[in-house]
């Protein structure tokens, strides 16, 4: 009976916490001061997903990486007309609209089609470019897939959350549609015959065909509403003043046919990228990625252990409240995916306090690891013989001293292998922070892949790097384990 009551109380605590956070997160925005805010700040913050040439991609010039592309030129023009500086943040395509809804950026640009579904959650500028839709296929399949009619019943890939994805589902009879986050992954899937065709915007398709002779393009043949095919800039709902100001720039862009110029310069950049696709040429990218991965893992290890110890001690507290809190926390964290937690800290809590992506990532991974470490430590404490507690008590040691000098040192020794496991998985699992644009190894990997049009080699390099990191850590952990064994 008592157990039931406890369980109910725990569930209630959890829901109250969730509702509170949810209420904060869903706070409606106030009056429209979007333009004023940008001007006051002197900066226009845009988010994009720079893996979509020629719209936006990274260029590697002299070891330094820059985001370029048609969309970037459009954004630059907009910022210049507003008289402010342009700040570019990068993120997964999936996260772009969330980023503007939660105020992480003023606008999102990235070949986004202003579909009716999207219009329900964000505002759009006028369309600045209409590229049309097409399919990429393998050159060897040219005879098999002469036109879009031949794609019936085929396996078609498209970026998740894009217009192409929806269209392939609705308009190609019998097709199996496979969604992925990154166009680079999709191209790789195509080249390795995981999919037969890839639904993609025409300019992107053209870029790929130009850089890769094994790929060919066929027109989509979709008859589409103009609104659905063009690219527009997305804003948070109710940003009328900013949207109107941006539209003025778009009118000029269209009148002067600036996008043609922008596309031409994007094409040049793409050639720069593919001149040298050796992985050594990109070593600075990988180095930076390793640096961030190690940084995040170190911070998360430190705070994870700290949180873990505190939670574990709370579990042994006499106070019911502490015990309940610790149990609820652990259950909740273990019951939700790390990826969702990362997004929640960045976007969700970001509504109240604006935390930079790197810090958000560190917080989320630390909080997550803390819950697991807590359980490991709890097991460790339980594994220390009862006689140790009794001996410490009989000597008159306080509970705190007993934990600090007698129980925890022994517990840590017992759980060292399990703890080491947790640290190693931390290195690997921290890769999830790339979804909010933290430049860790996975993030850099995706950039290199997008830049070089080389599918497998960068993956291999990243794999080796991850292995080296975990291998060295394993050696280090073994060394300390040996040392502890020596000490009795």
């Amino acid at each position: 009976m008592e157990k039931k009551v406890k369980a109910i109380i725990q569930v209630i605590i959890m829901f109250v916490t969730l509702l509170t956070v949810g209420a904060i997160a869903s706070q409606a925005s106030a009056a429209d001061n979007s333009l004023q805010k940008v001007k006051q700040r002197g900066e226009l913050i845009m988010v994009t997903s720079p893996d979509y040439p020629p719209y936006e991609f990274q260029v590697n010039k002299g070891g330094k990486s820059r985001i370029v592309g048609m969309d970037i030129d459009v954004a630059k023009k907009v910022a210049k007309d507003l008289g402010v500086k342009l700040v570019i943040k990068s993120m997964n395509f999936d996260s772009l609209l969330v980023a503007i809804q939660t105020g992480k950026a003023d606008m999102a640009i990235g070949g986004i089609n202003p579909t009716n579904e999207r219009r329900q959650s964000v505002d759009f500028s006028d369309i600045y470019y209409s590229g049309g839709q097409s399919f990429l296929i393998n050159a060897k399949d040219v005879n098999k897939f002469k036109s879009v009619k031949n794609l019936r019943g085929a396996k078609i890939g498209a970026q998740t959350g894009t217009l192409q994805y929806g269209l392939a589902k609705k308009r190609i009879p019998g097709a199996t549609v496979k969604g992925m986050d990154k166009s680079t992954d999709l191209v790789l899937a195509l080249k390795t015959n995981k999919i037969d065709a890839l639904g993609i915007e025409k300019p992107s398709a053209e870029a790929y065909v130009k850089n890769d002779p094994t790929l060919k393009m066929i027109p989509s043949g979709y008859h589409l509403n103009k609104n659905d095919v063009g690219a527009a800039i997305a804003f948070k709902k109710g940003s009328n003043s900013l949207v109107n100001a941006v539209n003025k720039s778009i009118v000029q862009i269209k009148k002067q046919h600036l996008t043609d110029k922008y596309l031409a310069s994007a094409g040049k950049y793409m050639k720069v990228n593919t001149v040298n696709t050796s992985m050594f040429h990109y070593w600075t990218y990988f180095a930076k990625g390793v640096e961030y991965t190690i940084l995040i893992s170190l911070v998360a290890t430190f705070f994870g252990v700290l949180i873990g110890v505190i939670l574990a001690l709370m579990r042994f507290s006499k106070q019911k409240l502490f015990r309940g809190l610790a149990i609820s926390y652990t259950e909740f964290i273990r019951g939700t995916p790390l990826m969702v937690q990362v997004m929640f800290v960045y976007f969700g809590i970001g509504v109240v306090i604006n935390i930079p992506a790197l810090i958000s990532g560190m917080i989320a991974v630390s909080l997550n690891s803390g819950a697991y470490v807590a359980e490991i430590i709890r097991g460790g404490i339980n594994s220390v013989e009862k006689g140790q507690t009794e001996a410490a008590e009989s000597l008159g040691l306080t509970k705190g001293d007993m934990m600090r000098y007698v129980i925890l040192p022994q517990a840590f020794k017992n759980i060292w292998p399990a703890l080491g496991n947790e640290f190693i998985s931390l290195i690997k699992e921290s890769s999830i922070v790339s979804i909010i644009g933290v430049t860790d190894l996975i993030y850099q990997l995706n950039i290199v892949r997008a830049d070089t049009y080389r599918g497998v080699m960068p993956i291999f390099v990243a794999m080796v790097l991850y292995f080296l990191m975990t291998f060295l850590l394993t050696r280090l952990l073994n060394y300390y384990e040996g040392k502890m064994k020596h000490a009795g």
């Binding site: 013989e385 006689g387 140790q388 009794e390 001996a391 410490a392 008590e393 009989s394 000597l395 008159g396 040691l397 306080t398 001293d401 000098y405 007698v406 040192p409 022994q410 020794k413 000490a487 009795g488």
Partner: protein, 248 residues
């Protein structure tokens, strides 16, 4: 210090439905050595552990130096506990520290002794139990007998007024029992007040002032060693002593 160091009145202890100790009464005077004997399951260890409240009595009082331990707060209990040393059957040395650190931890943390002073005391005590050369060893490298001598020294480092021994030689190989009993005999000779739960009848005979016989949660007989071993009054005691002598 009162003459009665420990006074137990109507002590009983239940684990769930099981009553382990039933209406235990007894006093331990300063300088006395009490040996508690009896068949296994009699409640001897539980009784001993109630004396420093490692087990919380279900009812009754346990007075130490006139203070009822069952009615003090946590802080007071710690203060009283540091005045009672305890030695366990399984030694319970802290395996994560050297022998020296085992002896120094409580004096430094509980008595706020300086590092240097604690070290001096510790080395002195190690010499007393004949293990001065093991100061920097870890417990796992010691034999059982050595570990138990260190455990005694560790308890003595707090300069206790009473020493409680919970079957201190039961976990030892036979050849090591002697060295531990020797240390305990020395202690008794120096006038330490001791309560010893033991199966070592020889030790009880030669060292104890009083022998308490326990069975089924009761103290059935309290008498001098001579009476207890030569002429026990209680039938259960008679039976127990008889079996032991037979076994020898």
């Amino acid at each position: 210090m009162q003459d009665n160091v420990i006074e137990v009145n109507h002590l009983s202890k239940k684990f769930g439905e099981n009553t382990i100790l039933k209406d235990i009464n007894g006093t331990v005077k300063s300088g006395q050595v009490i040996c508690v004997i009896g068949p296994s399951g009699a409640g001897k260890s539980t009784f001993l552990r109630c004396l420093n409240l490692l087990e919380k009595p279900t009812s009754g009082e346990v007075k130490f130096d006139g203070t009822d331990l069952t009615h003090v707060d946590g802080k007071q209990l710690l203060d009283l506990r540091e005045r009672m040393g305890m030695v366990f059957q399984s030694f319970n040395l802290f395996p994560n520290m050297t022998v020296l650190r085992n002896l120094m931890l409580a004096p430094i943390r509980v008595k706020q002794m300086s590092e240097a002073e604690a070290k001096k005391t510790a080395i002195h005590l190690l010499a007393r139990v004949g293990l001065q050369d093991k100061a920097d060893a870890y417990p796992s490298s010691l034999s059982g007998g050595q570990q138990q001598r260190v455990a005694i020294a560790r308890a003595l480092a707090m300069n206790p007024e009473v020493m409680l021994f919970d079957e201190p030689t039961s976990a030892l190989d036979p050849e090591m029992v002697g060295e531990v009993l020797e240390v305990m005999k020395e202690l008794a000779k120096e006038g330490m007040t001791m309560v010893v739960v033991t199966h070592e009848m020889g030790f009880a005979k030669s060292v104890a002032n009083q022998v308490w016989f326990m069975a089924d949660g009761y103290i059935l007989e309290k008498s001098t060693p001579d009476e207890m071993f030569e002429n026990p009054q209680n039938d259960r005691a008679k039976d127990f002593i008889g079996k032991i002598i037979e076994a020898k």
